[in-house]
């Protein structure tokens, strides 16, 4: 197993796990969004790793275009979701008292 694939895949798995943990465990809405970004980043990494091609004799290697295309679209997916999340978080911040989950809940209870 080449170093490249070990690095790529281990990094992807680690980042995915980190992102999942952040999304689940963190109360702060923006931290949650960062966790989302991590999840998506690990997907991008996997796609990029997939686009590798064996070096041709003249040394010039061209990437496999399909995973690259997937990566581009996936980036759009992840970033749109995250930006909309930011919108919502700001709106919540402007209307609610806090961006902490439980504080919002408490406030709802009071109001």
């Amino acid at each position: 197993m080449t170093l490249a694939s070990v690095t790529f895949h281990a990094a992807a798995a680690a980042i995915f796990a980190t992102g999942l943990f952040t999304v689940i465990a963190r109360g702060n809405l923006l931290k949650k969004l960062l966790g989302l970004l991590l999840l998506h980043v690990s997907v991008w990494i996997v796609f990029v790793a997939m686009s590798g091609t064996p070096a041709s004799p003249d040394g010039a290697t061209i990437a496999n275009p399909l995973p690259i295309a997937f990566t581009l679209i996936a980036i759009v997916l992840g970033t749109t979701a995250m930006m909309v999340g930011i919108d919502l978080a700001l709106r919540i911040r402007a209307s609610a008292v806090s961006v902490e989950d439980d504080e919002i809940a408490a406030h709802e209870l009071k109001s």
Binding site: H9, L30, L33, M82
Partner: protein, 286 residues
Amino acid sequence: MRSVSAPAIWRAGVLTRVREKVPFRPPLTALALSLAVGALLAVGLFDLPEVGAAGSPALEHVAPRYLNDARIETGATNATAAVVGAYRGIDSLLATVLVGVAVAVGGLVAVPVVAPAALRSRRRSESSVAAPRFWHRLEPWRDRVDAVLAGAAPTKLARFLLVLAFPLLSLLAVVAAWSHVDGAGGALAAGAIAAAGLVALATATRLSLGGSAMLRAVAGSSVLFALAVAHAPLMEGAGLLDFAGFGEDFADGQRLGIRLLTTGLAFAIIAWLAGHLVTIEQKSRP
């Protein structure tokens, strides 16, 4: 775009930041769950074919056509552009629509202006929760960085840097766009970088860029443009996204179609990101 989303989230953090609570007990279930998923994922990923290994299915099945025939079939010099624009053109079209939806959502939940001062006072009133001591030591620095980034009191240095950033970033964008003229990736990168430059400029010189409404309109029209490009072939009886009829010969038409489509996507992204960031930027003005 990653290059933009990171500062965006930092900015949002500046606006909305209350120090995150220290969880009372370590969230063990979450930890176990994420570790389990990560381990499972690792098992699966290590079972995948080697990176760049010859004969992996990803290279065997459809990739050869993209690699070898794209230039002839689509006239695109860049295989990725051919895939994004021609073979899987519907994907970029749908991505454009997705950006449009994001724009609409952003318009629906427009943030009412709240001055950072008010925010900070609110924050002080809230910051009852004890934070780790380490952060206490960093406190003054954090406030200073906040002040700069929130545009509350941009220091001369910050202004200079930001003003300097704009031409550099736009130059970078031009280079990125030019480097592979057909490259959809190039278009995306150019869009992202240009958006970053716009934001830098807006931050430095309280320039409003016509507000977010105008940019939203631009984004919407570019979405509509991309859709129109997709529908255009119906005029001459071809199928949707079948750009062969655009030019005098097959490849020429395809190339034109790809460029139009990706341009629509890129412009949608530029306008959307810029509008988004400028909105946040304006909110952060005292």
